[in-house]
Symmetry: C2
Subunit: 406 residues, 2 copies
């Protein structure tokens, strides 16, 4: 069993780097604060006797040797970058749980057949640079190193120059690093476990995701003198598409999701009929066919609305990844470890994307979820119970030992 | 008849002060540019032999003496401040049409019984300081001089200090200035005249206006892991109120208006269910009873939505003025002048607020509308035809002469 207090203390120490007044963390990827966080973890890993490799996109692999180092390592990890108004647990928990597994093995003098590694992936959040899940995406070949290097933040700084600046532009070719199996522990970022009062979520799959930018163009005009019948009100048309986004998701329960999170209205003045509205659409489903159906229904609704209203409506897909079922060996290892340890459990399909969906393209992968308070994440008030974090880490320990063989 | 070319040339010269690249004007109230605009018009007035009075809120009255100067003056005017992305005609036309009337009278050596005055009112637009229509509002007692003085722009500068800085903090007590009758020429700022192919709009009344701020509060949560049934999506609830705003207006044709022009979504991130949405509601009608009914229906819909969804919904009225019917003497003077001059004409209820609704509280008032291109105003591409501007100014000349008596 791992040491829950030590895990908690490490989480709290890491959370001081970029701590916000409201108790959250702001540690955007490839900033000076990210460097401080990375340096701290690398120091801890070295203190635990691990060797460290950095690849060309700044992914860091920290290795505890096995008895047979020709075997591919059993890897765990996540990310330590945060949202601008992020919490202490999202990502950070997965990395420090891995470190705690190694510390526990060291403490008990347990050797594994295969090496064990803890990884942290660059820019999972995608808040500063897109694409999201950048390090693991480059690693598995979802997009190229050049694409990632060229990504710019709002100030025009590129990923490559920022990696170099903070000293994490490594030598290893991304994807060259062998992985025998990959496990990722993470807070659920949703309310399902808490609602069902379960401690461990076994994650059979991650939902596929389809992101769109939608622009509705009407005609800007004065709110007073323009008769209702002569208006081309972009907002009124946009709201029907916003509502349809949710209606589509509701037609495909239980794993359909539809969200409009971002809206910009032009010129955004009280007495001007909106001439243009830009907004985001986020559709998800765990079933690829249903996700495609949702996509088609959304496009059909847009086409119908365009025809009926005569307004300009553009919709562009800006991100997509298909649903990702995890490898039965990894899912079963998590389930077996949970049962052995006697924790209450249920299956939870992940609605959020994680680095594990990209590692799954190159190695058997699986995830372990623990509850977070009120299901809230990407928020400074994100919170989790020490006992739940400890339980998830124990499950990780046993699942990894099963794959790495003692 | 007035000199259309001289009117146009003056409009174009004034439009150079604060001219924008896109052909519009940005000359916010009480800025250095506003001072330059004011100085130019005062210089022109003095060249036309007029005397100038400034009151404590910076309203400027430029007087051409009559034969009997004990009679209250027949006044015309408007404003010269603009929106941040404003045009060349909104307000400016009304002031320069007044000046052109005086120049024409001078040229033909015509004396009037009552004095004639041209006024420009401070801060009609309300873009830099609220309340909107500030100078005329203080003049008629709609709100106090102290309220107006204390208004701050985004940099914290007050109306009083800015009036002083640009040299337009006058001595006269607002409202002390006598007005025998008030006429205001203005571009329509709507598409009705152009649609009907008429040159002159006789304005029987201005719609009443009711402005609200609405805040819907739900719960911010991650767009992926949060099941549809457990969401408290502030945007989805807000969109129903946005749609109802328009539906209410559509229930009260032809003079019901309903607009949502301004929307802010929090935290406004693609994969976060909106936790809060703030938006504006603008309701108008020319009939006070119907405007009240619209107000009640909006509040009832909000109450019903609050009860049905359980989300927090606050709605606060932030501005109100009742419908303003103009004085039959002034409306008839405009109609008679138009008929005499043989211009095509129709009645157009003003959907926009104007300084004339405040002068109407202290003196018989009326307005003259001319078409503007595509009905567009509050936009740098605002445009109007020289022939229409000339026609409106001729109507003004004759309406004023009828009231001032030759
Ligand atoms: N875990 C996480 O928030 N990933 C970002 C992509 C998503 O919205 O699922
Ligand atoms: N003329 C004008 O735009 N007035 C501002 C108030 C309104 O929205 O009607």
């Amino acid at each position: 069993r791992i040491n829950g207090q030590r895990l908690w203390d490490s989480l709290m120490e890491l959370a001081q780097i970029g701590a916000t007044e409201k108790g959250g963390v702001k540690r955007l990827t490839l900033t000076d604060l990210d460097r401080q966080g990375r340096d701290l973890i690398v120091r801890w890993a070295e203190q635990a006797g691990m060797s460290v490799t950095v690849d060309k996109i700044g992914n860091v692999f920290m290795r505890r040797a096995g008895r047979d180092n020709s075997l591919p390592p059993i890897v765990t990890g996540s990310h330590i970058d945060t949202q601008p108004t992020g919490g202490k647990f999202d990502g950070n928990y997965g990395v420090l749980a891995g470190l705690e597994v190694v510390r526990t093995l060291n403490e008990h003098g347990i050797a594994t057949e295969a090496p064990i590694e803890v990884a942290f992936w660059t820019n999972e959040e995608g808040s500063r640079f897109v694409p999201v899940m950048m390090g693991s995406g480059v690693f598995c070949g979802a997009f190229s190193l050049e694409t990632a290097y060229a990504a710019k933040d709002v100030d025009g700084k590129t990923v490559r120059e920022e990696l170099e600046r903070i000293g994490y532009l490594g030598e290893e070719e991304p994807g060259q690093h062998p992985i025998g199996a990959y496990f990722e522990t993470h807070i659920e970022q949703g309310p399902v476990l808490e609602d069902a009062d379960k401690v461990i979520g076994v994650v059979p799959a991650v939902m596929g995701l389809s992101w769109y930018d939608c622009i509705v163009s009407g005609m800007e005009a004065h709110a007073g003198p323009t008769p209702m019948g002569l208006r081309r009100d972009a907002l009124q048309v946009a709201t029907t598409i916003m509502q349809e986004t949710v209606a589509i998701a509701n037609r495909y329960p239980p794993y359909g999701r539809g969200t409009v999170g971002m809206v910009q209205v032009f010129p955004n003045s009280r007495n001007v009929i909106p001439g243009q509205v830009k907004f985001s659409i986020d559709l998800r489903n765990v079933n690829e066919e249903l996700l495609n159906t949702m996509h088609e229904e959304m496009l059909a609704f847009v086409a119908k609305t365009r025809a009926e209203t005569g307004l300009g409506i553009e919709v562009e897909r800006v991100s997509y990844y298909p649903p990702c079922p995890f490898h039965p060996d990894c899912v079963n290892a998590v389930r077996a470890a949970t049962d052995k340890l006697g924790y209450s459990t249920m299956d939870v399909v992940s609605g959020a994307g994680h680095d594990a969906i990209y590692t799954a393209r190159v190695a058997p992968s699986g995830m372990i979820f623990v509850p977070c308070k009120d299901g809230i994440s990407h928020n400074e008030i994100e919170d989790a119970q020490p006992a739940h974090l400890e339980a998830g880490c124990n499950v990780l320990l046993h699942a990894m030992l099963e794959r790495a063989r003692v």
